[in-house]
Symmetry: C2
Subunit: 205 residues, 2 copies
DNA sequence: GACCTTCTCACCTACGTGTTAAGC
DNA sequence: TCGCTTAACACGTAGGTGAGAAGG
């Protein structure tokens, strides 16, 4: 955690590292329905995307930003009659690999200049080449972001978990309200939005 | 240049920084015809791409890789009767902006792990938003790559110019052999390769 | 007219979507 | 059968090509 060592002059400016999740309204719409994220063999992007604004770093020091996914509970989940219910014993959880933000390593000034988006992270249900995060389908996960100081003795500065970004990994969407919400907001799914709006022009909410 | 200061223990490993241009055969084919690169208002990528393999860095130290374009001579060039000829006095040369490789800053280990490609640099004839390099059309340029040590006192380690990457900036190709060679090797021009091969299936060389 | 630049265009690369049917 | 996973698919986003007509 923060400032666990006696601080020298170069570390005093990091006492108040702050990380704020962007697009919280969108995340909360998904969270209210119990969010789902597709996992595939070759890896699937997340939607919504985890995007954070960072402040309180030393502009001239070097940091890396990391994302990982901790098991949110010890259950296997099942979608029955329109509801997610916790099932039997979970499979042994492999330690979630860590995704390193592609701008890493970089100066504090870079991370603070604009919100940092983890749009390129890919979720998979198979272990294969680097860059992808392997998750267990039908298990619930809690994304977490970490800031590590690098370019010297490596040191974990802070970790943040965003409850509204929790989701259940799936190989196909279970709740069709989730599907609808994804189509409505993800530009890459616009083909399906057009199809839906042609048959359903006044739907909202 | 290299090791201009008395070296301390962390700098001794950088005495033999080596930078080798990749795809030299391709570059030399273009160079033999006098290479041309398109410049546009919004910026145009280079083809071929400048790609280098780097060795001799300290794996744990931090570096940035830079690309710039120096005026190769003081002339304005003109394509007349199938030949490039030097013309009148050149316009005053604005200092070429520097392009910072998007992986910058990064560890020596990163730069040495695989060849580093400058495929995203864009050449323009107008000065506008960041990321683009402004050049004078019909002037000849010499690309140069620089390695700078960062994350501490900044220090230029080495500069490399690759003669076979020289080119004349143009707003439209002048030598149609250059056009043919670009179409033959650039995947993004495949539409024109297909058209040409349908009418000319056995051309080579 | 001659020369150079700009813009629109069809046609690609590359890849992110949910759908659907098939596989297990 | 049922539940879950996979692969092919149509249809988008995003953007890199030279061609060719138009502009200056």
């Amino acid at each position: 955690r923060e400032s666990s060592e006696p601080s020298d002059k170069s570390e005093t400016s990091e006492r108040d590292v702050r990380v704020v999740l962007e697009e919280r309204v969108l995340w909360e719409q998904f969270h209210a329905l119990t969010n789902e994220m597709i996992v595939t063999k070759t890896g699937r992007r997340m939607f919504p995307v985890i995007k954070v604004s960072v402040s309180g770093l030393d502009p001239h020091a070097m940091y890396s930003l990391l994302l990982d996914f901790s098991a949110a509970d010890a259950h296997r989940w099942k979608y029955v009659n329109g509801e997610w219910v916790a099932g039997g014993k979970p499979e042994p959880q492999p330690p979630s690999c860590v995704y390193i933000h592609p701008d890493s390593p970089n100066f504090g000034a870079h991370w603070m200049r604009a919100p940092v988006s983890f749009c390129k992270v890919k979720l998979s249900n198979k272990m294969n080449g680097s860059g992808q995060i392997m998750l267990n389908s039908l298990h619930k996960y809690q994304p977490r972001m970490h800031i590590v100081r690098v370019g010297g003795p490596q040191r974990l500065l802070s970790s943040h978990a965003f409850p509204e970004t929790r989701f259940i990994a799936v190989t196909a969407y279970q709740n069709e309200e989730i599907t609808t919400l994804k189509i409505r907001h993800n530009p890459f799914a616009k083909a399906f939005l057009d199809a839906k709006e042609r048959s359903d022009p006044h739907k909202d909410g």
